[in-house]
């Protein structure tokens, strides 16, 4: 029985995505994208695609969050819109 976990994680993924789009502070967006990637990685694991989930965990949740934070460090933290 993995249905409930599936649904819970999927809901959290959508919540993270919407929150990342609506938040004004870009640093928060970067961290939310990290959380989004990690939840996606859980979702891949639930579906049995362990290779994909490994890539998502290392690239999506790990390095790309660091790149976002580095880019924000050198630009501005507030969005214009």
């Amino acid at each position: 029985m993995h249905w409930p976990i599936d649904i819970i994680v999927l809901t959290l993924v959508i919540f993270c995505a919407i929150a990342a789009l609506s938040v004004k502070d870009l640093l928060v967006t970067a961290i939310l994208f990290g959380a989004y990637s990690f939840l996606m990685c859980l979702l891949w694991t639930i579906m049995g695609a362990v290779d994909v989930s490994f890539t998502e965990a290392s690239v999506g949740a790990g390095v790309s969050t660091v790149f976002f934070v580095a880019a924000i460090f050198r630009t501005s933290r507030r969005t214009k819109d």
């Binding site: 290392s58 660091v66 050198r74």
Partner: protein, 259 residues
């Protein structure tokens, strides 16, 4: 869109179009063909090895693009130095006047904050373990999930952790920019080289089976070894490119100060 998804085949349905044609072949024949227990690695680096080779080339191009767009060789007008015994920070505004960096003075960032002892110590202990794990992931790519891309990214992030926990100069001093560039290129060349060696041995490009006379040992294991070599190439290239991208973004291409 939601209405359309109702027509989709169920998840894991054996009758869905995606699992009807080639999946059976891979599941039944992969171990026989290649001797590799992990189908995903076998498909990625053997059956569609061309695709992965150009993926590595794309990663290399990403690093090259980051370098060409962001790298700034002009250097800063102002310099900050720290007098090591007293901790006094000097701000030198004249470009011509430079202090000799050694045991007495050291370079300093503008946004410098003293590295936290706990962060520093924890990262110093963690980094070797992360690197060992990255090597494990690369080496076991054909037995367990993971492979060159993941291992390379993990190794690269361990180096990025060094830059974050100390400062960027510590990383740049240990790993020169030139070395990173060479690593990125060598990784792609290892992949292409292993693939190209197959051709004079009488096979097609990327036909690892033909490498058997070159490597002592069980000839049934040769495809797994070929994949391992290719994964190592991918790992080296990805590691170097991740560090190149990080350094260039965080220091605005000047490689002097940053996060």
């Amino acid at each position: 869109m939601l209405y359309g998804t109702g027509e989709f085949p169920n998840w894991g349905d054996p009758k869905s179009p995606a699992s009807l044609h080639v999946s059976d072949y891979y599941i039944e024949k992969t171990f026989e063909d290649t001797g590799v227990p992990n189908f995903v690695t076998a498909v990625v680096t053997d059956y569609r090895g061309f695709d992965t080779m150009f993926e590595t080339a794309v990663i290399f191009t990403a690093g090259l693009g980051c370098f060409l767009l962001l790298r700034d060789f002009r250097g800063k007008k102002e310099h900050y130095y720290r007098h090591v015994p007293t901790g006094v920070i000097l701000h030198v505004k004249d470009d011509k006047k430079t202090l000799k960096v050694g045991s007495e003075f050291e370079y300093m960032d503008k946004e410098w904050v003293p590295p936290d002892l706990i962060n520093k110590t924890v990262c110093r202990i963690l980094i070797p373990f992360i690197q060992i794990y990255a090597l494990y992931v690369v080496a076991h790519g054909d037995y367990s999930p993971g492979g060159g891309f993941q291992g390379g990214v993990i190794f690269g992030s361990s180096l990025i952790l060094l830059a974050i926990s100390y400062n960027l100069k510590t990383l740049v001093k240990r790993i020169k920019e030139k070395l990173l560039g060479i690593f990125a290129a060598v990784g792609v060349l290892i992949y292409a080289g292993i693939a190209a060696i197959c051709m004079p041995m009488g096979g097609a490009f990327l036909d690892y089976g033909k490498l058997a006379p070159l490597v002592p040992g069980d000839p049934h294991h040769i495809r797994a070894l070929g994949m391992l070599g290719v994964e190592i190439g991918v790992g080296i290239a990805v590691m170097a490119v991740m560090v190149i991208i990080y350094i260039n973004i965080v220091s605005e291409g000047r490689h002097d100060e940053g996060l």
